[in-house]
Structure formats: C-alpha cells, structure tokens
C-alpha cells in the first residue's frame, strides 16, 4: 500500500483477530492490510465495533488471550514481526518505540502515583536514566505538554480531564517513541479542551518526529491533523487514501454514507440527514460477500457473493468495492 519506495514504519499484513465468547466467535478484525510511513499521521476511522481498538491492541500485542486470538497475519514494525518476537522483546518495544494514549484519562493513569513518578517510571523502564536525570527529563516532558513542572508532585485526581490527557501524552512521549497510537484521545473531553489536546498532539508529533496512528470516529479531527485516512467497517478496511483525495472523492458507499450522516457546522439547519439503513452486521455472523452489502443501496449480486478486496482505483486510493462511487466501469456515479 501507499508509497512503496520507503519501508513503512508499521506494516500490518493480513491481520485477523478473533474472540471466543458465549455467543460465538467474534471476528473482530478480518484480513487487514495497512501501513504507516515514518513521520506521517494516519487517521483510523470507524464506528463502534469496527475493530479499530482491537487492531491497535494487536500491534502492541496486548490482546487478552483467551478469549482473543490473533489467527493470522504479520505486524512488521521497522521490518520486524511483532507477533514472532518474544514477550521480553515486546516489552522493550512497548513504551520505548511504540507508545499508546488511551481514551479515558480518568482510568488510564495510576491514581496512587504522582504524575512525575509515572513519567519517571516510563523513562527508567527503557533507559539508563535514573534519579535526577530522569526527573529532569520528566519535568521537560511536562513543560512540553504545557503543564508547570511544579505540578509534577500532584496526583491524577487533582487534574482536570484535559490535563490528565496531557499527562498521558507526556508519559507516552517520554522515550521519544517512533510510533504513537492514540485511541480516541479526545472523545471524553469537552470541545474547547479537545481543540487544545489535538493541537498539542499535532505540534508534538512534529517536534518529537513521531509517526501517529490516530483512532477515532470523528472525521473532523482526522481532517485537522492526519495525512492519510483509513476507513474501517466490520473488521475490514474499506477505503484508504490521503486526506485530500478521500475527503474530496469518497468512493466507498459506506464512506460516503459517513460523510452524509455527520451534521456539519457549515450546513443548513433543518432537513433530514441521509441515513444508511440498518446496523453493522453481527460480528459472529458476518455476511458471505462484502460485509457492507446488506446495507448498501448500490449492492449487486456479486457483492453478496464474494468480497471484493482492496483495489487501487486511483493513485494511492484503495477501495474494497466492485462499484465504487464516481468511477466509470463501476456503475455508481455520484
């Protein structure tokens, strides 16, 4: 995928993840192919249950097994397959090369450690820095995220939601990881605080020279800070391209549906939103053909029979659809 000249920083190939539950086998991620180039920001978009968080956890190999299981695929980080590493090799990578920011700033911090202690912990796990040097670095991180270093001695509950998320960012970036995974980092925050945090992530990404995998359901945030975007549905990747291309010419009917369903600040009030009928399919009972076909207004017979697979319909624009919108030869014109 994407630019074939450079080795991608993260290259997910044919990843499939399953969960064994009481109601059956949940196919959370199905044959996912995704890559992220160094220094870029990729927006990973989808609704609840699409499999985004599962993918992120798979990259860090943090999926609880049982009941989860990675049934196929490779996850190449800087050329090395994470799935084939030993656990101690992975522990070295986690935090040091790949770091993660979680959605809920309330529960992702340790309530009984001070903020600077938590940053220092991250630093000392992955480097030789100890004592004063580590503490100094922790204070540098706090400065970087806009928190006064004196506040380092306070506990998480003494901070507001936005501040806690900044602390989370400071911890994640403490070791200058090459890849930062942010899982819905601003969903739990107010709009104005969200704006602060998104800007912070963007500026730090450039400053620290980290690549970013941003998981979200919000197309607006992706437009703000990402270079490329991947749309996920029912465990499959359905569309991938760079921002301009995808936002300007969405090709997959689901992507188009997403854009239509979002009320826009600039749009006219009133009227009705164009709605995609139905719901995401039951992950224990996915359709035989294209997973979107039961809801797709343009579905043809072949769509129900066999999934299409990602096809490059335009330069660096991949769509998993036989009849993408706006493409001649596909029969669906906008």
């Amino acid at each position: 995928m994407a630019d074939k000249s450079a080795t991608p920083l993260l290259d997910i190939r044919n990843l499939s993840v399953q969960f064994n539950t009481d109601s059956g086998v949940v196919h959370a991620v199905n044959n996912l192919n995704l890559s992220l180039q160094k220094g870029k920001a990729l927006g990973f978009v989808g609704e609840t249950g699409a499999g985004k968080t599962t993918t992120a956890l798979a990259v860090l190999h943090l999926i609880q097994s049982p009941p989860g299981k990675i049934t196929s695929g490779e996850i190449l980080f800087d050329g090395q397959d994470i799935l084939k590493m030993t656990e101690s090799e992975r522990q070295d990578i986690r935090g040091d090369k790949i770091a993660m920011i979680f959605q809920d700033p309330m529960t992702s911090l340790n309530p009984i450690m001070t903020v600077e202690e938590q940053i220092v912990e991250m630093i000392s796990l992955h480097s030789d820095m100890k004592g004063e040097t580590a503490l100094k670095r922790a204070h540098d991180m706090l400065n970087l995220v806009g928190i006064r270093p004196e506040r380092g001695k306070e506990f998480p509950h003494q901070f507001s939601g936005g501040m806690r998320q900044r602390v989370g960012i400071a911890i994640a970036l403490a070791c200058r990881p090459s890849l930062l995974i942010a899982d819905e980092p601003t969903t739990a925050l107010d709009v104005t605080i969200q704006a602060q945090v998104i800007d912070l992530i963007k500026s730090l990404q450039e400053k620290v020279n980290t690549s970013l995998l941003l998981i979200t359901h919000d197309l607006g945030i992706v437009a703000e800070i990402c270079d490329d975007v991947a749309i996920m549905y029912a465990g499959h990747l359905v569309e991938y391209s760079d921002i301009r291309q995808l936002y300007g010419h969405p090709m997959h009917p689901y992507t188009q549906g997403l854009f239509n369903a979002v009320p826009n600040l600039n749009s006219e009030p009133g009227g009705r939103l164009a709605v995609i009928q139905g719901l995401m399919p039951d992950p224990t009972d996915l359709p035989k053909g294209c997973s979107f076909s039961p809801r797709c207004p343009y579905a043809k017979e072949i769509c129900h029979e066999k999934p299409c697979g990602m096809v490059e319909y335009a330069p660096n624009h991949f769509v998993d659809c036989y009849f993408p919108l706006g493409v001649k030869g596909g029969q669906n014109h906008e």
């Binding site: 602060q196 998104i198 854009f259 600040l265 939103l273």
Partner: protein, 330 residues
C-alpha cells in the same frame, strides 16, 4: 420576535432560575439566574461544555430537581409551585429523554414493560388490552420492530435503546420534551437515524423541544434558536442562523472555532482558550468567562455583565458585546 413578554405562544417561560447545591467547600452555582423562553412548536438548543449547568437546567424544568429560586412558567402556570396533583398532570405534558441509552433503561424490564410503565403508573387505560395496543403503536411510531417487544435492553444496540427512551417519553402524549444529549452516546450513523426520527415527530406532531447537547454540529442541525451556557449562565442567545454566522460573545466564538471541521477547504482559525473551566463553587464577582477571555478588561473582572438584547432577538452577556465581532467568522 419579542419573547420577553408573557406571550401566549411561549410554551415555556423560565425566569431568573437558580439552582445552588451545598457542597463541603461552599455553594455550587449550577444554574445561576437563567431566563429563557421557548415558543410552542420550536426547538431551543442549549449548548455548553461539561459543568455549565445545562443538564441541571433540563432536570429542574421537568420537575426532577427542585429549584433554589426563580420561576418556570409552563402554559402560564409556575411549575415550581405545583402541588403533587398538578405535578401529576404536568407529567402528561412534559417528558424527558436521557442521554445514556443503557443506564436510562431498567435492565430487568422488557421493551414492553419499559414503554408501558408511564401508562401503568399514571393509570391511563383501564384494560391491559388498551395498554398493549398503545405500546405497539408507540413502537411503530419510533421505528421499533414489533418482534422486539419481549426483548431486553442488553440484547439491543444503542440506537434501538434510545428509541425505547423516545417511545417511553411519547407515551403520555406530551407537548414538550426535554432531550438531554439524546444522541451523544450513539455512533454517527445511528445518530443520524435518531435525529431524523426526532425531526419527523416534531414536524408531524408539533412538539416543542429543549435540545441539550455539547455537540455544536448537532445543535446547528436541529435548533430554531440556540442558547449558549457557561458556568451556570446563559452568555448568548440568538436564532440558529445568527448565532452561528455572527457570534458576539467571545466564548461562543471560541466554542465555534474549536469544532473540528470536516471540510478541508473551509478551515477556521482556531481560537485557543487558555486554562481550564474554573469551578462553579463560590464564583467570584464579575464576568465568569473573564479569566479565559482574550479581550478581558478591568471592568470584566469586577462587574457582572448584563444580559442585553443587542439586535432584535440576539441576547449577549458581555460588557463589550457588539464590539467584538469575530472578523474571521464567515
């Protein structure tokens, strides 16, 4: 539209409403001197971030929480002074839909029981047969398949659960519905379905809505009039179009600029507010927004601003209202 008189077309007239909570550190000003009116058949969008008091306001208006001071006139009668009998009657006119479609439904009750509850509690019908028919009719109205009538909330997705919440609110045939973040917990596609449902109902039956949300795009979509709240006070109120095209209060301007926009070519320059939302406990005198306002002056920190009508129908609480037009707004 002049809505400061007790016009007969104002279904809801809130005057000087206050709700304070006693906490260990002092007095929490959840709702502080709010005055709003909602004309019959219209939607007032109430917007603000967490802690601004919008949910508390909704609950006071519906009678779930007692007010500390002020009046809420519904059809000319003060809700806050109702006897329990009058309150019973009031419930048939005003209902509420909650935010979280999971925790707002009793997990031990089936869809039938959940929707039938208001009918049974208020003894609307005399026979079970009539109740059953009404429940089925309501399910049809909100788009719930009849076969789900024996299902339980945990078997259904968020969108369906929220429809149950709406059906339940409609059971008593109210005229006025408070919608407290009704789609915030829902995915984008389901959100669109529920918003369409609410719009259809309003059009067909002439409901009046108080639509509470922190999501400005949604509020832009559904409201006729919009009020912005900050720390318990209404800082700006105007018709939908005017508020979004010509916001006068610095907070509203910042709020609007903070919303991530999907349109790549129409980027707004971001106004970044410094600091965090201050505490609503024992607020200091002066404009509550002043500490974070980039235009603040001496007077802002000392004197409370007055909620004034700048242009017809456009109210702002700011000492410099009218002078601070956002030059970057469209």
């Amino acid at each position: 539209m002049n809505d400061r008189t007790q016009a007969t077309d104002a279904l809801l007239d809130i005057r000087g409403l206050k709700k304070y909570f006693k906490v260990s550190r002092g007095l929490l000003h959840a709702v502080d001197n709010v005055s709003l009116t909602i004309p019959r058949g219209r939607t007032l969008g109430l917007v603000g971030e967490s802690g601004c008091g919008k949910s508390t306001l909704g609950r006071v208006v519906i009678g779930l929480i007692e007010a500390t001071a002020g009046e809420v006139f519904f059809n000319g009668k003060d809700v806050l002074k109702f006897t329990s009998q009058e309150r019973s009657e009031f419930r048939k006119h005003a209902q509420i839909v909650f935010q979280d479609p999971f925790s707002s439904l009793n997990p031990r009750m089936s869809v039938y029981q959940l929707i039938a509850e208001p009918l049974l509690i208020n003894k609307v019908y005399s026979s079970n047969q009539q109740v059953s028919e009404k429940v089925k009719e309501l399910m049809d109205t909100v788009g719930l398949a009849e076969r789900l009538i024996t299902s339980f909330p945990h078997e259904l997705d968020g969108g369906r659960r929220q429809r149950i919440g709406v059906a339940r609110a409609l059971a008593l045939n109210p005229e006025f519905i408070v919608l407290d973040e009704p789609v915030s917990a829902l995915d984008v596609c389901i959100q669109a379905q529920v918003l369409n449902l609410l719009a259809d109902l309003k059009e067909q039956r002439g409901y009046t809505y108080l639509f509470i949300s922190h999501n400005l795009s949604v509020v832009r979509y559904v409201s006729d009039e919009v009020a912005v709240m900050y720390l318990g006070q209404v800082v700006e109120r105007a018709s939908n179009r005017i508020l979004f095209e010509d916001p006068l209060h610095p907070y509203t301007q910042a709020l609007l600029s903070a919303v991530p926009v999907v349109d790549l070519d129409n980027r707004r320059e971001r106004i970044i507010l410094e600091g965090d939302v201050p505490s609503p406990i024992n607020p200091a005198p002066g404009c509550r927004f002043a500490p974070r306002c980039r235009y603040r002056q001496e007077i802002c920190l000392n004197q409370d601003p007055v909620h004034r009508e700048i242009t017809p129908g456009h109210f702002v609480s700011c000492h410099f209202a009218g002078a601070l037009r956002d030059s970057r707004a469209r």
